[in-house]
């Protein structure tokens, strides 16, 4: 018996992230800016110790997508990035959103959006200072434990509890329990985000519980600066398991 495998690098930055700050975009956090008016916009993306990257966004009230998500870690490399090839402007529908995230690495990014065409440069977003009302900030904490969520601008605080999803029971599935190509129903799905709004009255709830790998979305209703810090790590915190049915004893094959 022999086995071999192609080594794939573990995205270690994901598992080292213990805090999030809306003034810096890191792995597992996303800044989402909503463009409410048509026009041409300049987006400056600055990365630690690097020359800022400039992108042009055209927001139109016509045929254009309502959302783009930009992976900032690949934007520096024109071959890798999935937008803005050949110098073409990024087009967005009025009311659409532009998401900024970084898929890997430990770099932090800052985004500044200004409007073109007016005499004075009109800064629409400088998230190093604050996130304007109407925008969104998301975090996807992986480390289980208790986090403190705070917003000094709105003087708000909230507790975030991150628990491990239920571990699957190892072993064979029940014979005939699933048809070809289907996953078992109890498989954990991390793609179910939870929405929390933050405004002048603070967060709309006092505590949120997430499964590790699930995303918490902050809908900013009044300019905010959000921080999410791991206060108490607790790897033992696990959601109650979803038990699979016991496997029946095998029967002899009929020929």
């Amino acid at each position: 018996m022999s086995s071999n495998q192609k080594q794939a690098t573990l995205n270690r930055a994901l598992f080292a992230q213990r805090s999030f700050d809306s003034s810096r975009i890191t792995v597992l956090s996303t800044l989402i800016h909503r463009f409410e008016e048509a026009g041409d916009f300049e987006v400056f993306i600055s990365r630690t110790n690097r020359t800022p990257l400039r992108l042009l966004i055209t927001v139109v009230d016509g045929d254009a997508p309502y959302q783009h998500n930009l992976d900032l870690s690949s934007l520096q490399n024109p071959k890798e990035r999935d937008c803005c090839r050949d110098g073409a402007n990024l087009r967005l529908h009025v009311g659409g959103v532009l998401g900024f995230f970084t898929s890997q690495g430990v770099s932090t990014f800052q985004v500044r959006i200004v409007r073109l065409g007016s005499k004075e440069k009109q800064v629409f977003l400088n998230h190093a200072e604050q996130i304007p009302a109407g925008d969104f900030f998301t975090v996807t904490p992986l480390r289980p434990g208790i986090y403190r969520v705070s917003d000094p601008l709105n003087k708000a605080e909230m507790a975030l509890k991150v628990v491990m999803p239920p571990l699957p029971e190892e072993g064979k599935v029940e014979k005939g329990a699933k048809t070809k190509g289907e996953r078992t129903a109890s498989t954990y799905r991390p793609d179910q985000p939870v929405l929390v709004s933050v405004g002048k009255k603070g967060f709309d709830r006092r505590e949120v519980s997430l499964l590790s790998g699930q995303t918490l979305v902050f809908q900013v209703q009044s300019a905010a600066r959000l921080r999410v810090d791991l206060e108490k790590e607790d790897e033992a915190v696990t959601a109650p398991p979803k038990k699979r049915p016991d496997k029946p004893a095998r029967t002899t094959k009929q020929t």
Partner: protein, 324 residues
């Protein structure tokens, strides 16, 4: 009435058959991609055992030939899909569009896992051949075909001194033309399924880091065993899936049947009769001339015509007319 009659007993035929049987060896390899995984094999094998039975309906049954696998290497490669966190969409009230969130993936590239167990010890099959003797005429003046499916096999047997090369004169060839070849389907025991499952599980486990990160990945993929079954599209037992793979997808049994069929039916004759047949060999004789001087006597050959063969439940009988 035929001029020439030769009878071959069942036991003599058995000895003849054993020589040919032992010369049958094969090696084959193939691989196929099934999307998220690739499967392949590299096999080598030969035949053992087998009993010859002459039957009264002019046929020969070679029963219970054991297919022995010297190597039965099975390669299974998994292309593990993305394992990611985050993602999903949130439904927002008008006029805000629904917002879809990015995902973060655990590995920078999709890892591959591959295992290559040798299952030779776990595969046992039997083959039976029933056929009728047929006579074919080998005309040495006809050039061999450009693409000769038997050429390679014959050359190999000649080089191994199993058979004589085809001569530069004509011959009558007696082949066993298979009516049917029955090969057991590949049937892998539970132990093989467990072996493969354990090897795959170990290979996938080796990819995962430890601690809570491992637990998180296990929760996302739903457990390694289920994950592997999902990747391989296995609804049931791995051993059954493996049998289907070899019997249907690879058709390795068909390959073997074709090989044995061509070997006996077209490539290697069981018996050969020279035409013309030498009845007196070339000789240097000193008793022809009174002086006692040596004289070369040319060989005496007779043409063989209308060669036929039949089998009853006792013997194989070859008959022919001799002379023009």
């Amino acid at each position: 009435m035929a001029d020439l009659t030769v009878a071959v007993s069942e036991s003599a035929f058995q000895r003849l058959f054993v020589v040919l049987r032992d010369s049958i060896r094969w090696e084959a390899q193939d691989s196929t991609s099934f999307g998220p995984f690739t499967a392949g094999y590299h096999v080598k094998g030969h035949l053992e055992g087998g009993s010859v039975d002459f039957r009264s309906d002019n046929s020969v049954l070679i029963d219970e030939l054991d297919v022995r696998w010297d190597q039965f290497q099975f390669t299974l490669g998994l292309d593990i899909p993305e394992i990611c966190v985050g993602g999903g969409c949130i439904n927002m009230p008008w006029p805000i569009p629904d917002i879809c969130l990015p995902r973060w993936c655990v590995f920078s590239a999709n890892p591959d896992v591959s295992i290559s167990p040798d299952l030779a010890a776990f595969v046992a099959q039997e083959l039976s051949v029933a056929g009728r003797p047929v006579v074919r005429y080998y005309d040495a003046s006809v050039p061999p075909p450009l693409i000769d499916p038997c050429g390679l096999l014959r050359d190999m047997l000649v080089n191994a001194s199993v058979i004589d090369p085809f001569p530069d004169h004509n011959q009558w060839h007696i082949h066993l033309n298979p009516d049917f070849i029955d090969l057991d389907l590949f049937d892998f025991a539970d132990i093989v399924g467990n072996l493969i499952e354990n090897a795959l599980t170990a290979a996938v486990t080796a990819l995962l880091p430890g601690g809570w990160v491992r637990n998180l990945i296990l929760a996302i993929i739903g457990g390694i065993a289920d994950f592997i079954r999902w990747l391989l599209d296995i609804p049931d037992e791995i051993d059954e899936w493996l049998s289907d793979l070899f019997n249907i997808s690879f058709g390795l049994g068909d390959l073997l049947i074709q090989l044995v069929g061509e070997f006996f039916g077209a490539c290697v004759p069981l018996l050969r009769v020279d035409d013309p047949l030498e009845v007196l060999a070339k000789e240097i004789s000193t008793s022809v001339l009174l002086s006692g001087a040596p004289v070369e006597l040319v060989p005496v050959t007779v043409p063989v015509r209308n060669l036929s063969v039949r089998v009853d439940d006792v013997e194989m009988v070859v008959q022919a007319d001799v002379g023009g």
